[in-house]
Symmetry: C2
Subunit: 451 residues, 2 copies
């Protein structure tokens, strides 16, 4: 039976199986979901065992478990390490979901659920591709290791020590990751770069109590005024970041890179229309693809303080909060960027307001040369299934562990993504287009056989 | 029996009675509390009836009920209209209350509860002062009307039409209101001015969905960036309001007014210490008392958007919100100010972001001449009880209906407050100092008898 026929014959059953996994609310950022992370890890371990993988382990960490499995019966053949994650992002604002985030629903050929594309759905493809080869051919053409973690959305805190402690066990010739996207339907891409990340939380305090705006208004500092005027100093009015030294280590865009970006032929008008935007926004002199692929950012992810209820409350709030993340490129060092932002904030905070800053995640940017043989083989595999060769792109997201993997295991990383850019990662109504579910299975099979 | 002895003899019983009223969570801003507003109005009507007042009515409105009562058996004597409110402010942040806001608790001679000082506690004084005179002397020295509403904290929407429709019924020689404060313990004050108020809610929208900051960060507008940079344009860095024409109609401070303000002898260092502030904040060239008493403000009461949970969420929010109120003085017109703010916001909103603005409350500032006979009699009454004459001050707060009352009924308004400035109005741990509970009862008796 062809692989295509094989996968078609058990499609419903496999989707039902994936839905089970997606029903587990494994939100790593919320400690209330700790048990769900364990449940999602156990579900994964069972599924790996049933798929024919060996040495399946649920490795406990200080955070959420890492699941390992392998199948090492192809002596002399390359070893592939598959990395992915079973944790998901928070789901608020919940009221914007058409169907509940943890009650997977298929509509118009798309599977809707938190984690459908990021990343349970894509990890599932690898398990089912391996199972398929084992069922069809009784052996694998390569040696396989899988390392699936539960802390990707909270900066993979436990993975680096696990990796260092298990360097021999994880040693591989190529690291294979499906946690990125096609450029658009039918247009596959292999990411040759990821942005780094750093995050911080800022709190501004003024008086020791909320105050009545009648009795005190005009005469005391307002924590929201202080925070808002502080945050407004972080950008210039062209979207650039105004923090001193922020752009040190950011590479100039070569004309070669600009050509590569231009090949993506992103239609900015279509993008605007699909996002309901009158205009895009960002640094002058760069296209959207360049801004996202090759430029660093500083984003406000959350700002809050004072009264949020119905109606009016004439209060002067005593505290206000901001959550900030930066995407980093080139040689920007996350700790150095955090230090620069802190200095900027301390310099610009208004008199009478007190500033507290808490560091969060830190990850360096990652880059790989597209001419690497493993990347070329991956492009061949895409061509087998999609009928078109993958483009080599830079991805704006961060998978913090990729840079660590590549450095620690000294192996090339193939980012073979099957998502789509409009699948609402980290937003309400996340989904996975099932066309790429079907083609993803075949592409992975093809890649493993080509190795 | 002296009034002092009378009130002492039933002090516990009266405080228990007040506690019952304070236990009813009559938060007018939250529609979920609708039934509690009715309950608080019914409680008030019963208490008025038991106190000996007549024609007690719970008048239903489109919002919360207005409670009316009178006692009109002193022909040829002046008629006093007592105004107050039984609605209270919201209570969040709840975790900052030492005891629950609707479980009244007496500690260190202070009664803690939402509404203790603003304004149930102060309304209660009038009822019990009238009851005392009726019990002690079997008649009142004046004619009395009471008009107690349930929408003061949400801008008294139903009262103006009630007032217009019942102008004859409410006609009086003086309007008596206890909803303000002494300057400090033992230092009574009669407010001769209130600031006006206007409010608005601002929403900024960007894309039609929250976006992943990796896939889109740097290339699309962020609703929080747009809101924060917009709000930052509303003030200069001296605390002044930057909206074009905002200060039109604001009177210059005469040297006479400055002298009057200076008499309050507010110790700014002590104020800073009590609020836990390193420094006060406000327009250059004005003292704290002047800033609050004679200058207009524009305050952010709430700002929110994006992720507010635990940890990090790398999201670009699609919407962000701000709640804004202004305190107005002199001839500033609330609608005109709202229009000016709207023009400012529309002018400064960044490209790619959409702005929605919703009008809220509107009230003009109020002022009265301190030489009015009714104000002088009130100062005498304070002197009888506190041993010191009340100062004539300007109050920074707004009681929107006062200006309407004064205009519609063409009568002087005596603002005879018994609160204290640090009693946490509109904030956690609101309380009422019982020294002023005791003295308030006697001062009201004295005022009614002096008329």
């Amino acid at each position: 039976m062809s692989y295509e026929a094989y996968f078609q014959s058990i499609r419903e059953q496999q989707l039902d199986e994936l839905k089970q996994w997606l029903s587990i609310p494994s939100i790593s950022a919320l400690s209330a979901h700790k048990a769900d992370l364990n449940k999602a890890a156990e579900w994964l371990a069972d599924t790996l065992t049933r798929a024919g993988l060996e040495n399946v382990e649920v490795h406990q960490t200080g955070g959420h478990p890492i699941v390992y499995a392998d199948h090492l019966h192809a002596p002399g053949k390359p070893t592939v390490l598959v990395y992915g994650h079973y944790d998901v992002q928070p789901v608020d604002p919940l009221h914007l979901w058409t169907t509940p985030p943890f009650e997977p629903d298929i509509r118009d050929g798309k599977l809707y659920a938190r984690g459908a594309t990021d990343d349970k759905g894509q990890v599932f493809l690898h398990i089912k591709a391996i199972e398929a080869i084992l069922k069809q051919e009784e052996k694998l053409p390569v040696n396989i290791k899988l390392c699936i973690e539960g802390e990707e959305e909270i900066s993979s805190r436990s993975l680096p020590p696990f990796l260092t402690a298990n360097r021999d066990k994880l040693a591989s010739d190529v690291i294979l990751i499906s946690d990125t996207s096609l450029l658009e339907p039918g247009k596959p891409a292999i990411s040759t770069g990821l942005r780094g990340l750093c995050s911080l939380e800022v709190t501004v305090n003024t008086a020791n109590t909320d105050l009545h705006s009648g009795s005190f208004g005009g005469g005391v500092p307002n924590a929201l005024h202080a925070l808002v005027s502080l945050l407004a100093t972080l950008h210039d009015d062209q979207g650039g970041v105004s923090v001193d030294g922020f752009y040190e280590g950011v590479p100039e865009l070569s004309s070669l890179m600009r050509e590569e970006f231009a090949k993506q032929m992103l239609d900015e008008d279509q993008l605007k229309a699909s996002l309901g935007l009158d205009s895009l926004y960002g640094e002058d002199g760069f296209s959207f693809v360049e801004r996202v692929g090759a430029r660093p950012t500083l984003e406000l992810n959350g700002v809050y303080g004072g009264f949020q209820g119905e109606g009016t409350k004439t209060v002067i709030p005593k505290e206000a909060h901001a959550k900030i993340t930066c995407r980093l490129v080139g040689d920007q060092d996350p700790q150095d960027i955090l230090d620069k932002i802190k200095r900027h904030l301390e310099k610009h905070i208004q008199p009478g307001a007190k500033l507290q800053i808490k560091d969060g995640e830190k990850a360096r940017a990652f880059n790989i040369d597209p001419s690497d043989r493993m990347l070329q083989l991956a492009a061949d595999a895409y061509e087998d299934v999609y009928g078109t060769r993958a483009l080599f792109t830079k991805d704006g997201g961060s998978i913090p562990i990729v840079e660590t993997f590549s450095r620690e295991l000294a192996a090339p990383v193939v980012m073979m993504g099957f998502g789509l850019p409009d699948e609402n990662l980290h937003a309400p109504n996340e989904h996975f287009n099932l066309e790429n579910f079907d083609k993803g299975l075949l592409t992975i099979v093809s890649f493993l056989k080509r190795l």
